[in-house]
């Protein structure tokens, strides 16, 4: 693909992704937090469905030679610290990276403030005042250095560890087992929490929130298309926003020849546009803001998410939505600590006393 068509593809996929995120209320902060806070599993089921669809889709494409899996590098210290900081941050920010991005499109100014904090925290940690922390946790030598493999096994295009190649297994064995287990649980636990959708097909698509399984399947399909289009990786949110602010500050605008920045930055801008379109059609777009204290809380949360996403090398989308389906050990570890950080923050903020 040429750079121009790659940019356009990023924008179009972003718009569709944003539309689906808004319709499905797809936010991993809510998904994980509500497990302990409200015993609500609806969004968690959507996340699980998206992971299964992508896991199968990625491995089919890899088997057919359309893509090569690209699990992220396993810096175990960085995944633990970065994931945990990110998880705390998303509770304070009232949305994960994707949740915050789509809510900007709904007119939520608190999420806009969180997004500013997210971009600032990211750049500060990437190349600014906190860059030493990043290089300390992602070193080239010593106990914290990257753990790689000499035998990455089939379908994997780099030397990074997956749940399959660490045991020398064919990935399909794990893909089938994990998919069957998750789908069985989803079928068993279906329905009881479903949105009662009434009305015409038009109303179900454009007016009321979607059922979890529809959201999960469509998010999964978007991720598969994204991986096929972009080739290097599937969906991600943090890189696009960091690139966006970086381009504004340095004047190095996304231009032809730097495909990474083009793709991810246009993707996240597309998400805001798509979510805004969905919210306007549904009659849910409204400029709104919480009080000053909450705005500050969301800003701090955004900064922490930015710090965590750079240290841990990805946000919830890059790790949990795109990395876990590739069975990447880095993303599984990072994802676990994102969830733990989320739970600790949610417990302290909402559940004590």
């Amino acid at each position: 693909m040429t750079d121009a068509s790659l940019m356009l593809a990023g924008l179009v996929i972003g718009i569709i992704f944003g539309f689906v995120l808004q319709r499905g209320r797809f936010c991993m902060n809510s998904a994980f937090r509500d497990i302990i806070l409200m015993k609500e599993y609806t969004l968690l089921k959507a996340v699980a469905m998206a992971i299964v669809v992508q896991m199968i889709g990625f491995h089919i494409m890899a088997t057919m030679g359309y893509i090569q899996l690209s699990p992220k590098t396993l810096y175990w210290g960085a995944m633990i610290v970065g994931g945990f900081i990110f998880g705390i941050g998303m509770v304070l920010a009232a949305g994960c990276a994707s949740g915050t991005t789509y809510r900007v499109g709904e007119g939520m100014m608190g999420s806009f403030v969180a997004l500013l904090g997210f971009m600032i925290g990211g750049l500060v940690t990437k190349g600014g005042a906190l860059k030493d922390l990043t290089s300390y946790l992602q070193p080239t030598e010593g106990a914290l250095k990257a753990i790689t493999t000499d035998n990455a096994g089939p379908y994997v295009g780099n030397a990074n560890l997956t749940l399959a190649n660490i045991f020398g297994l064919n990935p399909w064995i794990l893909v089938v087992i994990i998919a069957v287990v998750i789908l069985a649980v989803l079928v068993w636990k279906r329905g009881s929490e479903e949105t009662k959708a009434e009305g015409t097909l038009y109303e179900k698509i454009f007016k009321t929130g979607w059922n979890w399984w529809i959201t999960g399947i469509i998010v999964g399909i978007i991720g598969i298309i994204a991986f096929y289009t972009f080739q290097n990786y599937a969906l991600g949110i943090s890189g696009g926003w960091f690139g966006f602010l970086d381009a504004l500050l340095t004047g190095k605008l996304p231009r032809l020849g730097s495909g990474m920045l083009n793709w991810f930055t246009f993707l996240v801008i597309g998400v805001v546009i798509g979510a805004a379109v969905a919210a306007v059609i549904a009659g849910e777009f409204k400029f709104r803001a919480p009080d000053a204290k909450r705005l500050l809380q969301q800003f701090v949360g955004g900064v922490l998410m930015g710090i965590g996403a750079v240290i841990g090398t990805a946000c919830n989308i890059g790790h949990i939505l795109s990395g876990v389906p590739q069975l990447a050990l880095s993303s599984i570890l990072g994802g676990i600590f994102i969830v733990l950080g989320c739970w600790v923050a949610a417990y302290i903020m909402f559940m004590r006393g």
Partner: protein, 80 residues
């Protein structure tokens, strides 16, 4: 805002972010007496969908969920 039932109290959580509309409503509900009616005004879409489910799970009755305007909802809860 025509209403067939007269609420005992009104909780306005418009502007609040995830999950404060739900958390504040649950706290309020726990303080109220049996038979009383709580009116919740909110403008956060996810809570408008999630709150009726979680409140019913607590054993209370949802009398009404209505969209009152662009991005705004009104939920009437009867305390068990």
């Amino acid at each position: 805002m025509n209403s067939d039932v007269k609420p005992t109290e009104t909780l306005d959580v418009r502007g609040e972010v995830c999950p404060y509309p739900d958390v504040k409503t649950q706290k309020k509900v726990k303080k109220m007496k049996s038979g009383e009616i709580l009116e919740v005004l909110l403008d956060y879409p996810l809570s408008a969908e999630r709150m009726p489910r979680s409140i019913e799970k607590m054993g209370h009755e949802i009398l009404k969920t209505e969209k009152t305007g662009t991005g705004e909802w009104r939920i009437l809860i009867k305390i068990k």
